[in-house]
Each structure stands twice: as structure tokens, then as C-alpha cells.
């Protein structure tokens, strides 16, 4: 049995459009597969979407908390990539086209998805412009 997490638009679900953003997608959809068949579908809201920073980490946490063993992603920032790897999740790369969750799960079952090779965009990629970078301060020991 595997539980596959996917970032999704809207409120999620099998017919929802897959979201190429990971850290700041609207929702996550979790599909449980057993013997190549869909057993359960669950959707949760992504409360990390509005985070100033560390959205990728919080999003990875949501995915982990919901028991996912694998994820399918589009664009992945450095924090998200590091976090998903730290959780030992198998990460698959979605092709660069608009697909629904159902369509991606079908591709997965057919073994047509390639493995994700790591972060492929910079930090804050999914945010609208105008949010600062920062990263200066911090305290010493």
C-alpha cells in the first residue's frame, strides 16, 4: 500500500487540477493505492501557503503528517526539497502540463513518472513579487 501526496489547486480531490507549486499550493490531496487501485482519497487545506518563509518546510510537514510515502511534485524550492528528502519520501516529477490528480495517478500506476532530482526553482518561487528576501540577521551562540 502506498499513500501518494500531491499539491493541488482549489480544495483538492481526484478531479482537482495538480498544482505545480509545492510550498504554496492551495491544498494537498492524498491518494491511497493498493494493488494498483485507488482505495481512498483525502484532501486538506495548505495552511503553509501564506507563510513569510519556510513554507516549503511546513508543507513537507503537512505531507508527512498525513502519512504520505511518496509525493508527486512540479517545482520544488530548496527548503521543500531538503525537507521531503529528510522525511525519506519518494519524490516523482510531474510532466510540464496541466493534469488532474486522476491523470497523474494513472501515469504513476503505469510507471511513466520519473524521479525528481532535487530542487528546481529558487526560494519563494511561488510567491507573488514584492515579498522581501532578507535572511541577514540571526544570533550567535
Amino acid at each position: 500500500m502506498v499513500i501518494i501526496g500531491l499539491p493541488t489547486n482549489g480544495s483538492g480531490g481526484l478531479n482537482e487540477v495538480f498544482s505545480p507549486r509545492f510550498g504554496r499550493c492551495n491544498s494537498f490531496t492524498f491518494v491511497t493505492l493498493e494493488d494498483g487501485k485507488i482505495k481512498e482519497v483525502k484532501a486538506v487545506q495548505n495552511h503553509a501557503a501564506d507563510a513569510m518563509g519556510g513554507a516549503g518546510i511546513q508543507a513537507a510537514q503537512i505531507v508527512g503528517e498525513n502519512g504520505a510515502t511518496e509525493v508527486i511534485v512540479g517545482f520544488l524550492g530548496p527548503n521543500a526539497s531538503q525537507s521531503l528528502n529528510a522525511l525519506n519520501l519518494k519524490i516523482f516529477q510531474a510532466p510540464n502540463q496541466q493534469l488532474t490528480v486522476k491523470e497523474l495517478i494513472d501515469l504513476y500506476i503505469q510507471g511513466k513518472l520519473t524521479a525528481n532530482i532535487g530542487s528546481n526553482v529558487g526560494a519563494h518561487y511561488g510567491m507573488s513579487r514584492g515579498m522581501g528576501g532578507g535572511g541577514g540577521g540571526g544570533r550567535r551562540s
Partner: protein
């Protein structure tokens, strides 16, 4: 009368205007007058005050940055650390050990402090160094950020904590402290401005110079500090009078200006400060005379300020 040293911060926003030139020579002039002076180089990405003084980097001390280390034998996986981590630098899912994501860790040590099982150890990495040396009867503190590290403000904080220690334990060790900042208006510069009693932004008579000066003054005023600007290379392209007039129109107070002078370049190249007491530089040169005048204006400003604080004479 307060024994605490007077702190002067030389900044500017725009890079290459002559902050270090001014900071070093002000320090030298105070020293010549018999004051006990500490010069702190807070431009930790490019520390070079010691070059202008013909000094070297000594007494190298590492600046550590906190790294949380989870002790799995003690950790109960309660997740309290992750819940309270403001930058979300601890990844925690139920029934798993928290995973530090070091790239976003701010080093605040909250996790280390609140863990109910004391299961987080304070590990550290070196993010830079500080140096302290004595050259030319001046005490010199220098900070240096390790290349690829981003937190210059942390090195500056380390330098300022050393300063705080001195002010608290040996308040009359120094009469004057001069702070040299990096270019820009980032938080490393902010920390140094905040520490100062007097702030001197250094600019040049160009459009860039004026804009960056206005920007750094915005920061200085936001921090509720008193400032007087210096226009360096004032004779550049003959813009001096016009530029000073523009600053006056913007109600920007000017401490003085320094014209172009080959002797200044010579002093740079030789690593001997222009205003060094027994130097061979032309004492009637335009640069030398300008610095003397600046120094007199600065002392007057300091006196004015202390009259104000003691209720006037």
C-alpha cells in the same frame, strides 16, 4: 560626568565613498590629541581598516553559530521544539524525531532552551572571526564573515558584545570609539548606527551619492540618531558648491568636505594614515587641511552634545 566612551559611527550607504578613510583618520586625530581610541571595523565582508593603518590581523577568534543537535536517546518526539520554532527550522511529523533544517535556522536557541527532556544539544559552526590588535597606539577590533555565510549581522553583534563588555567592566578604558560600517543599509549597518552617539554618513558629490545619502539618513533618523554628513572627493568635476547647496536645500547638515588630493591616495598606497602625527604628507595639502577642519567641527559637535546632556554651561 559620564565616563562612558563617546561612540562615533561612520557610514554612508553608497560604497566606496571613503568611510574607512574617514573612520581611520578621525581615530588617528583623536589619538594624536591624547584620547584613548578604539576603532571597530564592522565591514565584515571586506574588512580593510588594518590596511590603512599598516597593521595586521591578530588574535583570531572564531565566531560560532548555534546548530541544534537532537539527542535521540533523550527525545520523546513531543514536537514542542518544532511547534515553537518561528522560522519553522524544525520539521516534525508524529512519532518521528524532529529534523533541523539548518538553512532557515536563525540561531535563537529557543528549541535548546524549551525542550522538556533537554534532548537538544547546542552544536555550532564557525561563521566568521574577530580579531583584536593594537597598532599606532590605537586599539582595533575587526570582524570577518566566512565566505558563503550570509549572516554578517551576527559578526557585527559579536564585535558589539565585546564593546559592551568593555563599557560595562572598564568604562574608562577608551574615551572614543569609532565604528566603520559596511556599505548599504542592511541590519549589520543598523546595529552599528544604533550603538552610536554621533553618526557621520560619508557621500560624494554625484547623483548616486545624494540619493544614497538621503536613504541612509532615512535609516539614521528612523533609529532616532543625530548625524552630520561629510562630502568626500568634493572637488570632483567642479560640483562642490552646487552639491553643498543641494544638500542645504534638503536640510541635510554637513560636518565638512574633503577635496580630491593625491596625498590621500599616497597615504592609502603606503598604508600610513594621512593624519598620522609624524608622517611626511604635505601639512598644507588640501586633504590635510580639510581633515583638520572636519576634526575641529566634530569636536565642537561633541561638545555641543555634552553641554546639552549636562544641561548647558
Amino acid at each position: 560626568m559620564s565616563q562612558r566612551p563617546k561612540v562615533i559611527c561612520v557610514t554612508g550607504g553608497k560604497g566606496g565613498t571613503g568611510k574607512t578613510l574617514v573612520a581611520v583618520n578621525l581615530a588617528i586625530m583623536f589619538k594624536n590629541d591624547g584620547y584613548k581610541v578604539l576603532l571597530i571595523d564592522g565591514d565584515v565582508e571586506n574588512p580593510n581598516t588594518y590596511l590603512l593603518l599598516g597593521g595586521s590581523l591578530e588574535n583570531k577568534t572564531e565566531v560560532p553559530f548555534f546548530i541544534p543537535k537532537i539527542i535521540e536517546d533523550k527525545c520523546t518526539k513531543c514536537g514542542l521544539c518544532a511547534q515553537n520554532c518561528a522560522p519553522h527550522a524544525l520539521l516534525h511529523i508524529p512519532d518521528a524525531f524532529p529534523i533541523p533544517i539548518l538553512a532557515v535556522c536563525s540561531g535563537c536557541k529557543l528549541c535548546y532552551k524549551i525542550c522538556p527532556e533537554e534532548a537538544i544539544e547546542a552544536d555550532s559552526k564557525v561563521i566568521g572571526w574577530t580579531y583584536s590588535t593594537r597598532v599606532n597606539d590605537l586599539s582595533l577590533f575587526i570582524g570577518e564573515l566566512k565566505p558563503t555565510e550570509a549572516r554578517s549581522a551576527t559578526i557585527v553583534e559579536d564585535l558589539l558584545e565585546d564593546l559592551d563588555d568593555i563599557i560595562e567592566k572598564e568604562p574608562d578604558k577608551f574615551d572614543i570609539v569609532v565604528l566603520d560600517t559596511a556599505p548599504g543599509a542592511h541590519c549589520d549597518v543598523e546595529h552599528l548606527i544604533k550603538k552610536a552617539d554621533f553618526v557621520i554618513p560619508v557621500t560624494e558629490p554625484t547623483k548616486f551619492g545624494k540619493l544614497d545619502l538621503i536613504r541612509i539618513i532615512d535609516l539614521i533618523l528612523l533609529l532616532k540618531k543625530d548625524y552630520r554628513a561629510i562630502v568626500n572627493r568634493s572637488s570632483l568635476l567642479g560640483f562642490r558648491d552646487e552639491f553643498l547647496k543641494e544638500l542645504k536645500e534638503k536640510k541635510i547638515t554637513v560636518l565638512g568636505d574633503i577635496p580630491l588630493d593625491d596625498e590621500i591616495v599616497n597615504s592609502y598606497c603606503q598604508g600610513i594614515p594621512l593624519m598620522e602625527k609624524n608622517s611626511d604628507f604635505d601639512k598644507n595639502g588640501a586633504g590635510y587641511v580639510a581633515f583638520k577642519k572636519l576634526f575641529a567641527n566634530l569636536k565642537e559637535w561633541i561638545q555641543l552634545n555634552s553641554d546639552k546632556n549636562t544641561g548647558g554651561k
